[in-house]
């Protein structure tokens, strides 16, 4: 009887530990066929904004390339894959024609300044701390439900070369204190 009670409390303790580990700070990893989706996050939208950007890392463990074609979400009329690029100081943004290729054995990261999942005609603002449900559509892996953690407005992944400071989407926007010396 005593043994049983100990086992039960141990189980409860383990369960509690598991819940802590699976807390909101750890982005959920999703497996869909050969794909592993990780670090799914979105930017909170400024007041009245009708568009939003969502980001994640997609790893293809398979032997054939897959393609991210787009998706759907209950909070947006349209979900597309876009690429942002800078040329001579001019910003361009376009839907990725034919879908974003995820080559076999490789990992593709969607991050500010590059690829993003473009949520158009938002029905509600994306608020920091909330979750954003999106069903992504892949050519081979099919439909995959992903929950994106909503970070701050204009939150940013670290620029290339600073990747060791954290994973994309895990970095808080840099906040400066008034009068702080540089």
């Amino acid at each position: 009887m005593i043994f049983l009670a100990t086992t039960r409390s141990l189980t409860l303790a383990l369960l509690a530990f598991a819940v802590i580990c699976a807390g909101p700070a750890v982005a959920q990893q999703i497996k869909a066929g050969d794909l592993v989706l990780d670090h799914a996050w979105a930017r909170a939208t400024p007041g009245g904004a009708k568009v939003g950007g969502a980001y994640l890392t997609i790893k293809n463990n398979g032997t054939a390339a897959d393609k991210l074609l787009g998706g759907s979400s209950p909070v947006a009329a349209e979900v597309q894959v876009h690429e942002m690029a800078m040329n001579n100081g001019v910003m361009t943004m376009r839907p990725v024609e034919g879908g974003l290729s995820i080559p076999a054995g490789q990992s593709v990261t969607l991050a500010p300044g590059g690829y993003h999942i473009m949520l158009m005609q938002l029905k509600a603002a994306l608020k920091q701390g909330d979750k954003l449900p999106v069903t992504l559509q892949f050519e081979k892996a099919g439909k995959v439900d992903v929950t994106f953690d909503i970070e701050g407005v204009g939150a940013s992944a670290p620029p290339p070369g600073q990747m060791d400071q954290g994973m994309p989407g895990m970095k808080e926007p840099m906040q400066m204190k008034p009068g702080q010396k540089m």
Binding site: R43, T45, P46, G47, G48, A49, K50, V51, G52, G53, E78, M84, M86, G89, V90, M91, T92, M93, R94, P95, P112, G113, H116, M118, L119, M120, Q121, G152, V153, G154, A155, S156, P159, P173, M174, Q175, M176, K177, P178, G179, Q180, M182
Partner: protein
């Protein structure tokens, strides 16, 4: 033999000198042309986020920081506005000494009311200017800002646009730019330099 070698050296030296001088002169002319044809900044008439009419004259007396974009942009525009927010915080009370302005190139969607709501998510120093198509064409032309409307499938549209931040002095004269990938320390240094 020795004589001809000396002559060859002299000819080569003369040729080198000629090319060097010509290159220098060409370069100077180009710089001069560039200066005279790229005066950034000038007269404009727009509407601010409170519905008030504004012109370039309203900005005189203190330096200005201007960024052109649109609110249907999920990437560079909120990124830049957040950066400006952080930089203005770093400046502390000195942020009051700057006009910090987000100019919309999206005349039909970015109304003053929408801009006010949008900018409420960023530093309160940042003002939003918008206007009619002709007014936006005028201000972007004065500031040499490139922008182009691009139609997407499904009826939506996006803009290609210059993503540089323009720094103007208190007399409305162009001082320099902050580029999108500029380091935060450099950017804040440029803003401090502008206030001095």
């Amino acid at each position: 033999m020795l004589k001809s070698r000396g002559l060859l050296a002299a000819v080569l030296a003369a040729l080198f000198l000629f090319v060097a001088v010509k290159t220098f002169l060409n370069h100077s002319t180009n710089v001069e042309n560039a200066r005279s044809s790229t005066t950034i900044g000038g007269a404009f008439e727009l509407t601010d986020q409170d519905g008030q009419q504004v012109t370039e004259k309203d900005l005189l007396g203190q330096p200005s920081v201007m960024f052109f974009g649109y609110m249907y942009c999920p990437d560079i525009c909120p990124t830049t506005l957040l950066e400006l927010t952080n930089w203005l915080k770093a400046l502390g009370a000195d942020a009051d000494k700057l006009n910090t302005i987000f100019v919309s190139v999206d005349s039909s969607r970015d109304t003053p009311k929408q801009m006010k709501l949008y900018l409420s998510s960023f530093d309160p120093h940042i003002r939003g200017f918008t206007g009619r198509v002709t007014q936006i064409r005028k201000v972007t032309s004065e500031y040499h800002v490139y922008y182009k409307r691009v139609q997407l499938d499904g009826g939506d549209y996006v803009y290609d646009h210059s993503a540089l931040i323009y720094l103007m002095d208190q007399n409305g004269r162009y001082v320099g730019i902050i580029t999108p990938n500029e380091h935060e320390t450099t950017a804040i240094g440029k803003l401090r330099g502008l206030i001095k």
